[in-house]
Point group: C2
Chain length 717, copies 2
C-alpha cells in the first residue's frame, strides 16, 4: 500500500497503465520477435494512438522510431514505461522513471522474489520506489498487459502474433502470465471477446485484488476471470469482490494450489503467502464467486455470461430431439443442483396434443418429428417457457440444426421466442459449420456443442443470479446487540475461563460449577443433580482426557467428593508441572447431535468460523465449512445446510430434526465475537457443541479459547 | 434369447447384419432425403459392393435401381433387410423375410413397445419370429447401423450427409439412435475414426450387451463406447465385458438415468427394466469399465485410447512452460487419483543444471527459456521419463508450440523421445491451427487443448491399465472351500435362525444362547458373563427395538431372569399377534467400528453384496459400495477402501486401525453364500457388523435373512 497517496491517486496510476497516452519502452529491440521488440510491434500493428518512445542506449532508431538513450532524455511526459532489461538494472531504470514523473511501469524482467534472497531484496526496492514516488508498478516477472480498447499491448507473449481481436466484455486478470495469455488464446479461438488481459506476476505493487476492483467499476468490463495461487491482502480482495457483486459483474476465479502437490508447486512458483485453501472457498461462497477447476469451465461460464442474464431461480427446462440425451441432461442438471421441475399437468396435455409422439414431462422429448413442422417446436417451446416457468432452458438439436432444410425455419421460430422471452437464459446444444452456428449465436442464443457443458454453465449463472439477488442480506451483520470487547491474557485460557468468555459472547454453555475443593465438588454435584461429570480445570491443561483428568457418569455427590482429589492426583502423576485450578462439575447430558464450532485466524483473511458435525465426521470426512466473520443468520443457515451431513440435522431415522435455529444463533454470536477480537485471538474450539431436537436449544459442552498472546508466548519458549 | 439356435448361429446372424453381402430395403424411396431413401443413397455414395434390392410395390425403379414389389419377389438370397415401413405392416414384412431365409433385419419403424400396449404386442410378435426363424433383428425404433469397413450404412440419420469418414478403431453401441449418431458426429468433427455405430432401439432381439461382446472379438474394433439406459440381461452384459477385458479393449459406458429425474425420463423413453443404478457402478468397477458422465468425457477417453497404451501405474509427470498451469495440473491430477510423484533428488539436480530457472520437482516448470534451445527440453523430458519413471506424462505448451520458429525443432526432440520411450503414454497440451496440431499427432502424440482434459483421459487409461493387469485375480472366486447349499423356508427367518445360517456360511457371529424360559436366560447370562443383552427372537418380529423387545447392559443373571418375561410381555402388548420363539442372550460388546454388510437381489444382475459404515454414516452419507457376488479377497479389499469413510477403518485419532482382514473374509464368505443361494434369497442385513482393532477379528451383532419365498408370501397376503 502506498502510504502517501490516496486511493484516487492509485486508481489514476492504474488507469495510466491500462490506457496510457504515451509509452516508453526501455530495452526496446529492433527485432520484432524479441522481448523488447514485441510490444512496439504489437502497438504499431494494432494502431495504438499515443506517443511511443523507444529507449536503447545502443541505437538511434528502433523499428523505425527515434530512440532515446535513457528515460531521462525523453522530452515529453510519459504515462507508462515498459521495462524489458535485465533484473540488475531495473531498479536504476525505475528510479529514472520516478524522477521523470512517469505514472506507471510494466516490468517484464524476472530474477526478483521468485529467484531467491538477492531478488527479494531488489523487489523490495521496487516496492519502496512505488511507495515513495507514487509510480504504479505491474510485475516484475510478468507478461504485461493487453488493453484492447486502448490498443495498448504491453506484452512479449506470442498471443499477438496474427493480430489481436476486437474488444469484448471479459477481463482476464492473472498472476501467471503464461496462464493469463493462454486463457486469452482459448477465448480468441472461441470468438469470445476480451477487454483486458492483466498479468500481475510477482505483484510488488499492483495485485490481482486491485485489478478485480478496478474491473468491477470499468464500464467496458462485464465479466471478470481471475487466476491466483493466493492473495496477500485478503481484505482488499473482499472489497473488490463486493464491488463486483454490487455492480452485477460475475467473477470466475481459478484459485490454484488446492491439493498438497499443487500447493507445493505454487510455493516454488511464486512463494506467495496464501491463506488456507478452504478459506478461499468460504470467501468465494460469501461473495458469490464461482470457483473454476479447469480452463474450459472458466471460459464456458464466461461465454454464457455474455448473455447478461443471471436467473432468479434454478428451474431448468430441457428440450431434446433424442430421448437418450434428455435422460443424460436430466442426470447432469440434477447432479449440479438444478431443478428439473416437471411441466404442470395441464401444460403436458397441451404439448401432447400438439406432438402426440412427444414425452411432455421435462425433459420434453420432442423427437425428430418436430423437423416435419418447426412451428410445432416453436409452439411447444413457448408453452414450456410460459407455463413451465423455467429460469433456464437447454434445447438439444445436435447436427440436425445445421441441416440446410432446418436452419431457416428453426431460426424463424427462435426469433419469435427470443422476442417473447427476452429475459430467459436459453442455450442451444448444436453442432455444424462455424458460419451456421454463428447464425444461431447472432439470433441471441448461447450455443454449446456438448449439452452438459451448457448445463454446467447454466448452473454457474444461476449461482451468480442468487448472489446478485442476495446483496445486503447474506454476509453483512444483522442488527444484533454489540457486546463489549473483552481483554484476553497472554496465555491460554482454562476451560472455565473459556466458558465464561463464550457465555458472555452469547453462546449457550452447559451449566456447571468450578469446585476448588472436594467438599465444593460434592455440593456442586448435589446442586446440579447427578449424574455429573468432573473435569480438571487449568490454563496449562490442554489434553485433560489423556491425563486422566475427566470422569463421566458420577452417580452421587459422595462420588464427586472422592473423585475431586483422585483427578488431581492422576493429573499430577502424568504431568507433574501443571497447575490445576479446581475441577469443573457439570451435569451429564444425553441426546442431541454433536457438532463442532471453531474459529481460525487466517493469515490473509482474518478470523473465520468453522462448522461441522463432531466426532468421526470431522476426522474421517472433513465435512466442515468455513465463513469469514462476521456473518448474518442467513449465512449461518447456509453453512449449516452446506455440509454434506446436513441430513442428520434435518432428521433421519432415529434422529429427530435438530434445533438449527439455536445452532445458527450460536454461529452468528461466535462470528461476532471472532470479528470483535480477531486481533487478539489465535483460535477457538467448541467441541462438542450439542444441538438438541427442535425447540430444545443447543449447548457447548467443552471449549477452549487461545489468545494470540498465548501462541506468541509458546513460540518464544 | 433364440432357443433353437446356437451362439454361433446367432453370431453369424449378427455379422450378416454388420457385413451383409446383399441388402434389401423395404419401403425404399426415390427421395434420397427420406427415411426409405437415405440408406440407399448412403450405400451407393459410399460404394457398398454387395447387391441392393429396393422393395416398393408402387415403383418400378428407385434411385435408378430395379425395384421389387415384395421381399418374396427377390430372386437371389438376401443377407439383410432394412425395414422402413409403418409399424402396422412390419410384422407381415418380417414374416416374408423369415420365409425367404433372410438372415437379419434392421427395423427403423417406431410405434412398438415405446408406444403402449398395442405396440408391445406387435414387438412381442417380432421377438417370436426371431426366435422361431433365427432371423436376427436390430430395433425396432432404431436409427440402424453404420458399418464403415463394409461401407454399409443402414441408417436414416442425417449423419451421412456430406459423406462418411474412413474406418477407425472406435465402435459406438447405443440404445439411443440420436445419441449414438450424435457421438459419431462429434467423433467425426474431432477426426476420431469410427468402425461401427450400432443403435439398438427397443432391442426386441439384438441388444447392447450382445453388440459389446461382438465388438470385443472383432479385429477392427479396438475401443468400445456404449450408451444405455439399462440392460435387461445382466449376465449377458457381464460376459461381454469380461470378453472385452480379456482382449484388452477398453469399454467406456454412459449409463444414463442415475438421478431420479433422469430415471423418470428413461422410463418414459424406453421402458426398459433397468437394475439399480448403483449396481451398474458395481459391475463397471468389477469389470474395469469407465463410466462416463458427458459426451466430451466419453470421446476424450476414446481418443486417448487410440494410443493403445494402458499404463501399469498411476505416476504422472507434468512439464509446463507456465508455473501457474503446473499448479493447476497438479491439483487436477491429484483430484483424479493420479500420483504427482516428485522427481528423485539426484534427477532434480540434473534438471537444475541444464535449466537453472526451472523448477525441477514435478510439475517441472521448464519456463519459456526452453524455447531458446529446445534440445534442453528434449534432454530434460528424457531425464523425467527415465529417472522419474512416470507412467503418464503431460507437457503443456499452449500456443507456443504452434509458433513457426518452434514447430520443427520441437518435433525433432519429440521424435527422439517417442522412439526412446515407445510405451509411455504422453499427452501434449497445445493449441494452434489444425494442420500444425496434426503434425504433433502424426508424430505419435496425443494432443489436447485443455491440460485438464488430458489429465482426465490419462486417469481413465490408468484405470483400464489396472483392470487389464488384474485379470484372473480381481473378480473370480479364490480357492476357498465350497460350503453345502442350504434350504430356506418360505417365510422370514428369526434372528436366531439367521445367525445360525450365516455362521454356517463362515461369517463370524457373536456368541449367544437362545433361552426358552426365564431360568435358561439366567443360566445363559451366567455362562456368557455379564453384562449381557437380551433380545426377543421370532420369525415374525422385524422391529424388535421399537416393540420394546431389546434390553442392553443387563448386569446380573437375576436381571436376565426378570427381564425374560418382561420382554415377552412388552412385545405382546405392542404386537399381540406375534409369536416370539424365546429370547437371545448375548454378551455386551464394546469398541470396534460399526459397519453394515448386506445382500440385495438385483432384478437384472442377481445377488449383490453391500458394504458400508454403520449408523448415521449409511443414513446420512449413503457411503456404501456394492459388488456382484461372488468376489475374491482382492475385490473385498477394494470395496473396503472404496468407501469415503475408509479412513475410519485405517485408524484416526481415538480409533486404532481395524481388522480389515477379518472384514474382507466376512465379505468374501457373504458373497459366496449370496452366489450359492441367489435363487432362493431376497435379502440379507447384517447390522451392525463390528470390526475390532487389528488382529482382534469382527463379529455380526445382529442379522436378518429374508428368503425369496417370504417376500412372495408377503405379496400374496
Amino acid at each position: 500500500m502506498q502510504k502517501g497517496f490516496s486511493a484516487l491517486d492509485r486508481r489514476a496510476g492504474l488507469i495510466s497503465l491500462l490506457e496510457p497516452g504515451s509509452v516508453a519502452i526501455v530495452g526496446a529491440s529492433d527485432d520484432p520477435a524479441r522481448i523488447g521488440g514485441r510490444p512496439l510491434r504489437y502497438m504499431r500493428e494494432a494502431g495504438f494512438d499515443g506517443a511511443i518512445y523507444p529507449v536503447n542506449p545502443n541505437r538511434e532508431m528502433v523499428q523505425g522510431l527515434k530512440t532515446f538513450a535513457s528515460v531521462r532524455d525523453i522530452p515529453e511526459p510519459v504515462d507508462c514505461v515498459i521495462i524489458a532489461v535485465p533484473a540488475k538494472i531495473v531498479v536504476k531504470t525505475l528510479e529514472d522513471c520516478a524522477a521523470m514523473g512517469v505514472k506507471s511501469a510494466v516490468i517484464f524482467s524476472s530474477g526478483f522474489a521468485e529467484a531467491g534472497s538477492d531478488g527479494e531484496a531488489m523487489q523490495a526496492q521496487l516496492s519502496d520506489i512505488a511507495e515513495s514516488s507514487g509510480i504504479r508498478i505491474l510485475g516484475p516477472n510478468c507478461l504485461g498487459i493487453l488493453s484492447f480498447k486502448a490498443r495498448f499491448f504491453a506484452t512479449f507473449s506470442a498471443s499477438g502474433d496474427g493480430g489481436f481481436t476486437a474488444p469484448g466484455p471479459l477481463a482476464i486478470i492473472s498472476q501467471s502470465g503464461a496462464y493469463g495469455t493462454h486463457l486469452y488464446a482459448v477465448a480468441r479461438s472461441w470468438g469470445l471477446g476480451v477487454s483486458h488481459v492483466i498479468t500481475t506476476g510477482n505483484e510488488c505493487d499492483i495485485d490481482v485484488a486491485e485489478c478485480i476492483g478496478w474491473a468491477a467499476e470499468a464500464d467496458e468490463v462485464k465479466i471478470i476471470a481471475a487466476y491466483a495461487e493466493g492473495v496477500k491482502d485478503g481484505p482488499a480482495l473482499i472489497r473488490s469482490l463486493k464491488l463486483a457483486r454490487a455492480n452485477n459483474k460475475p467473477v470466475i476465479f481459478m484459485k490454484a494450489g488446492c491439493s498438497e502437490e499443487g500447493a507445493a508447486a505454487a510455493v516454488s512458483h511464486t512463494a506467495s503467502l496464501a491463506g488456507a485453501d478452504e478459506i478461499y472457498d468460504a470467501v468465494f461462497s460469501q461473495y458469490g464467486v464461482h470457483r473454476a477447476g479447469t480452463t474450459e469451465e472458466m471460459l464456458d461460464i464466461a461465454y454464457a455470461c455474455t448473455a447478461g442474464i443471471y436467473p432468479a431461480g434454478n428451474r431448468i427446462g430441457l428440450v431434446t430431439i433424442s430421448g437418450g440425451v434428455g435422460v443424460l441432461m436430466a442426470d447432469y442438471a440434477n447432479k449440479l443442483g438444478l431443478h428439473v421441475a416437471p411441466m404442470p399437468k395441464a401444460a403436458q396435455e397441451k404439448l401432447k396434443a400438439a406432438l402426440p409422439f412427444a414425452s411432455p414431462r421435462n425433459p420434453v422429448d420432442a423427437t425428430a418429428q418436430i423437423f416435419n413442422d418447426l412451428t410445432l417446436f416453436g409452439k411447444n417451446f413457448s408453452i414450456m417457457l410460459d407455463e413451465g416457468k423455467y429460469d433456464v432452458a437447454v434445447a438439444f438439436f445436435t447436427i440436425a440444426a445445421a441441416s440446410p432444410y432446418i436452419v431457416d425455419p428453426l431460426l424463424k421460430e427462435l426469433d419469435i421466442l427470443r422476442k417473447r422471452f427476452p429475459d430467459r437464459l436459453i442455450f442451444l446444444s448444436l453442432m455444424g459449420p462455424g458460419e451456421i452456428v454463428a447464425r444461431y449465436r447472432n439470433a441471441g442464443y448461447l450455443t454449446f456443442e456438448d449439452p452438459c457443458r451448457a448445463i454446467a454453465a447454466a448452473s454457474a449463472l444461476v449461482g451468480f443470479g442468487a448472489s446478485f439477488a442476495s446483496i445486503g442480506s447474506s454476509t453483512t451483520h444483522d442488527t444484533g446487540e454489540t457486546r463489549p470487547r473483552k481483554q484476553l491474557p497472554a496465555r491460554p485460557l482454562s476451560e472455565w475461563e473459556s466458558r465464561e468468555l463464550l457465555a458472555s459472547a452469547g453462546i449457550p454453555v452447559i451449566e456447571g460449577k468450578l469446585a476448588k475443593n472436594a467438599e465444593q465438588a460434592a455440593q456442586a454435584a448435589a446442586a446440579l443433580g447427578c449424574p455429573v461429570v468432573l473435569k480438571i480445570n487449568g490454563a496449562d491443561i490442554s489434553h485433560k482426557t489423556e491425563l486422566g483428568g475427566v470422569e463421566l457418569n458420577i452417580a452421587t455427590p459422595d462420588g464427586a467428593r472422592r473423585l475431586y482429589d483422585e483427578l488431581r492426583a492422576r493429573v499430577r502423576k502424568h504431568a507433574p508441572d501443571v497447575q490445576p485450578d479446581g475441577v469443573i462439575v457439570a451435569p451429564m447430558i444425553g441426546g442431541g447431535v454433536e457438532t463442532i464450532l471453531g474459529v481460525q485466524l487466517d493469515p490473509v483473511f482474518g478470523p473465520a468460523v468453522m462448522f461441522g458435525l463432531g466426532g468421526v465426521f470431522v476426522e474421517v470426512f472433513r465435512d466442515v465449512v468455513f465463513r469469514l466473520a462476521p456473518f448474518s443468520r442467513d449465512e449461518a443457515m447456509k453453512m449449516i445446510f452446506g455440509i454434506k451431513g446436513a441430513k442428520l440435522l434435518r432428521g433421519v431415522r432415529g434422529h429427530p430434526p435438530s434445533d438449527v435455529d439455536a445452532l445458527a444463533d450460536a454461529l452468528v454470536a461466535l462470528s461476532r465475537f471472532a470479528d470483535g477480537h480477531g486481533d487478539i485471538l489465535a483460535s477457538i474450539d467448541i467441541n462438542p457443541f450439542v444441538v438438541f431436537p427442535e425447540g430444545r436449544g443447543a449447548l457447548a459442552l467443552d471449549c477452549l479459547v487461545v489468545p494470540k498472546g498465548a501462541v506468541a508466548l509458546e513460540q518464544k519458549n
